[in-house]
């Protein structure tokens, strides 16, 4: 074993030196001499005894501090006292709150978006009508947008395909009611430009929706020619850009599906 350091000797004096220190001191005169000097010096440093406290000292201390101590609340279930669990519950509650807030905001936003365009009310039948009807508020911009799509599809429609023509006819029937409402609105508002354009559109929608026997190739070609000659598609696009916010209330059968 190597010679003991001063730190080792100090530790050994207090009974916590390295193992084998005692045996080394017994063999090594140099270390033993150093340790003896250290022990002599430390032995001289006597521990001064603190003033004696009598047996009632603890009682006096308790009497002096007891009034300042608040009573702990009755301990709840220990699980609830667990700090990690409480922290976890806090996070979970915060996440749930966030999700609920996002869901609610989404609902409000969605409702706001819908109400800005369409308001749907159920109108009770006056005297047992054959089918229930719905009253819808149609925005002119939307109406013209749908009309424009219909015209584009009509322009490129294939007369031989029933699958192509049938949806166009249904859509034309749906648009007719709204178009009538807008025409009346345009007449009352003294907007001849809009009224004329809607009249052109009305004529085409009537033919498309109500032609007896449906559309054959000849009838379709005629409609396409009228549409082109009236520059109807162009007119619809111009009107849509000029009158996007005009609204009318339209009554139509529920079975009509979307407006």
């Amino acid at each position: 074993m190597n010679h003991l350091s001063n730190a080792d000797l100090v530790e050994h004096y207090y009974g916590a030196g390295p193992s084998g220190a005692g045996a080394h001191l017994a063999r090594c005169a140099g270390c033993a001499r150093m340790f003896a000097a250290l022990r002599s010096g430390l032995d001289e440093i006597q521990a001064s005894e603190p003033p004696e406290r009598d047996a009632s000292y603890g009682d006096r201390v308790w009497a002096s501090i007891a009034p300042a101590l608040p009573r702990y609340a009755i301990e709840k279930k220990s699980l609830l006292r667990s700090i990690p669990l409480r922290r976890g519950l806090s996070y979970a509650a915060a996440c749930a709150l966030l999700l609920a807030g996002a869901f609610f905001a989404g609902r409000v936003w969605e409702q706001h978006q819908q109400s800005s365009k369409i308001v749907v009310n159920w109108q009770a039948p006056a005297s047992a009508p054959p089918a229930r009807q719905q009253v819808v508020v149609v925005v002119l911009g939307d109406h013209l947008d749908r009309s424009e799509r219909l015209l584009v599809e009509l322009k490129h429609a294939d007369a031989g395909s029933t699958e192509t023509i049938a949806p166009l006819r249904d859509e034309a029937r749906t648009l007719l009611a709204a178009n009538k409402g807008f025409r009346e609105e345009a007449a009352q508002a003294d907007n001849p430009e809009l009224a004329i354009a809607l009249k052109h559109l009305d004529g085409l929608l009537v033919q498309l929706a109500n032609r007896p026997g449906g559309l054959n190739a000849e009838a379709l070609a005629k409609l396409q020619a009228e549409m082109n000659s009236d520059r109807l598609l162009f007119e619809v696009r111009v009107l849509r850009s000029r009158n996007p916010e005009l609204k009318v209330r339209v009554t139509q059968p529920m079975s009509g599906g979307t407006i």
Partner: protein, 196 residues
């Protein structure tokens, strides 16, 4: 050496359940040892008594953070050491200086602070032959950490681990603090003896 009574944990559970009076048992059990270490560090009886009360108050308020696997005696002892060091630190900041405290043969019941006497140098103390005064003087030359570590080791018989916990330092740092204190004390006392 403080022993953790097996009933201490049960007592603490009772306190946390609302039985405030149960703390009285812990106070009575641990007050003497707390006073002892507080007196060692502050060197003053009145300060030591205040430290005991403050430590027990702090301990009560922190009782919820006490870990059941810990030893209440060691835990409250550590709080008392911190309180005592705080008090010494405040005293130092206030410019109050103590030399030899009340262990230099004067009235130990005297509460008032002893202001450093410029004339109370080594020569006078050696001439009076009071070895205890030399020791106290040498102790005052140590840093707070060294002095506290040495007092806890040499006079309180605390282990390095306990000293480290009480001072909030690493065990090796506590060991080094004790070693430095011993070296400084030996040098100081040797020099004073030569002068004598």
């Amino acid at each position: 050496m403080l022993c953790m009574g097996k009933n201490d944990h049960a007592t603490i559970r009772a306190i946390l359940s609302g039985d405030k009076e149960a703390y009285g048992a812990l106070v009575r059990q641990h007050s003497p040892s707390l006073f002892r270490v507080a007196w060692r560090i502050t060197g003053n009886e009145a300060d030591a008594e205040e430290v005991v009360q403050e430590a027990l108050l702090r301990g009560y308020r922190k009782l919820e953070t006490f870990e059941s696997r810990a030893n209440f005696g060691t835990w409250i002892y550590r709080i008392a050491v911190r309180c005592a060091l705080d008090r010494v630190s405040c005293r130092t900041r206030d410019g109050e200086s103590r030399v030899g405290e009340d262990r230099i043969g004067e009235d130990r019941g005297q509460d008032e602070a002893q202001v450093a006497d410029e004339a109370a140098g080594p020569e006078r103390l050696l001439l009076s032959g009071e070895i205890a005064a030399l020791q106290d003087l040498a102790l005052q030359e140590l840093t707070t950490t060294e002095r506290t570590a040495f007092l806890l080791r040499h006079m309180e018989g605390r282990s390095g681990e306990e000293i480290a916990q009480a001072l909030g330092i690493l065990p090796n740092a506590a060991k080094q603090a004790v070693f430095r204190a011993v070296q400084k004390l030996r040098r100081s006392l040797a020099a004073l003896r030569v002068k004598a």
